[in-house]
Subunit: 117 residues, 6 copies
């Protein structure tokens, strides 16, 4: 299954699969999904910083789907292109050139969003 690179198609696919996941998920799996949302809630660290943390963790662990999710979260939080680039550069240096294909796809997705995609 291909991961869509436009924000609308990505969100649509994610929502569709999430419905299937919720149908099969037991109590513990459902709790994990809640816990994940709460990890990015405003608090001692603002959500904006947490979205950058999520973006860097996702890029370091090389998960396109997670990168796309946090890119959209970063935009909602008003992260600028320069801030996003600096965060991805941390992932690049820490995680190495093996992250480059993911960073290229992330920047292409960001660029589409900038173009109003």
């Amino acid at each position: 299954m291909d991961i869509p690179t436009t924000a609308a198609a990505f969100s649509e696919q994610r929502a569709r699969l999430m419905k299937i996941m919720q149908r099969y998920a037991g109590r513990n799996m459902k709790r994990f999904l809640t816990l994940e949302q709460q990890a990015f809630a405003d608090g001692a660290l603002p959500t904006k910083t947490k979205e950058l943390l999520g973006l860097v963790a996702s890029a370091a662990l090389r998960c396109d789907d997670c990168i796309m999710f946090h890119l959209l979260g970063c935009r909602e939080q008003g992260v600028s292109s320069a801030e996003m680039e600096k965060a991805l550069n941390v992932a690049l240096v820490v995680g190495g050139s093996i992250t480059i294909p993911h960073i290229r796809r992330a920047l292409a997705a960001w660029d589409e969003l900038e173009q109003g995609g």
Copy 2:
């Protein structure tokens, strides 16, 4: 190359690529492929348990192709939806939210098989 999500298309693609692999594989690579099959053979642990182990290892290491392979193996061994969900929940807790996109795709593939897809 996209990984098909229906059982039939997945098995067809896998068989086609396996033929190419067998053509290029030297003696050691061929032995590895044999060793892999034997790791899941019935013995001190039943194949059913081993397929669950293979599923969890594949999900923890985040390999869609391997997950699909062991999902089909689990079904052959009569693994129920509840058993499969509990196994994937272990992978989720141990491996973190980075496994969620893979688990979502796994559950979508399982759901298609349940629907008789």
Copy 3:
């Protein structure tokens, strides 16, 4: 910090560090720790099978501390040496020779426990 290889020293170190973790952990981190325990509780899959799943996931992801934890769990569940070996062999084949140092240490720890260590 070195990971102790005797069951007693391991459990003592783990308990000591866990106390510090509980002191710093916020509500979400505490919930994660609970969720992890529940993932291995008896249910659609028996705890014995889940401990084997945890052992294989830990070996595939190459975490000595987690391997030791699930080795002890396996023993509590009455897992035999042969069953444990078959589970670790799945991790070896799926995860490759990079898991061998961890499997060697796991088997040495298991051997100490067998010797009544």
Copy 4:
């Protein structure tokens, strides 16, 4: 975004995404890209050996895009099918069966290049 498996389509996609990356990349990210190229330059180790190192590192870390890039580099350096197979076998043994889907796709791409694709 799917990774093309023909050499021409792969190189075209890579060039297109690289242009976007260069547009967003700050000074440090640009320097990393330069450093990566220099790591494979002729010197104490010949580029041919370095391309094999890059191929094995990419396969062990399971990055299809990076594998494809170094497969093309290997061909430019005159690596034979037998040499390539032996290198991928090292990745397979070290990295385990989780690398098999990547090795299958690598061999299929190599085969297309051999057929003059």
Copy 5:
């Protein structure tokens, strides 16, 4: 080689090994070390945020040495215990329970620093 858990012993070991590394490092390896430092310099994102990014990337990738390095960096930047805990919780949720042993050791090291260790 064991990784020291007190700040002083860690910094002494790191400095000693870094001297050996600088002696063997060629021009490209030296440039990488420079690039890594620059990735955490003040700019579009403040160093404090970048140290949190480095901490989370290190915890998600499970590198005790790197975690310790960024923990010390976080303290220099005035990161509070609550901010540090929220950042590590992102790593925990994203990276799973496999990160717990590393987070336990990180919190123990932080605690020693808090006690004036």
Copy 6:
């Protein structure tokens, strides 16, 4: 269990643990150990090149034990300090700064061997 950094202590510990592993290993696990040795045998690629491949794969996957093993293999094959440094630089660029602690320890071990340790 700590990984010794002198060649003699490392080889002694490895031999001791290997004896325990051979005692517990079933037929398939024993075959894997044989297959691993054969992967580095002379053939279409010389053992020297394969030891460099093993070193880079081990560094990229961040396994100190495996790095030490292939460092010793590299020395047996007459790999020079410059060749070893270039190989580790490929691992550094591909795998990122997260490999630096491992490369530092590798260079310290190599240095001890150079000093006749």
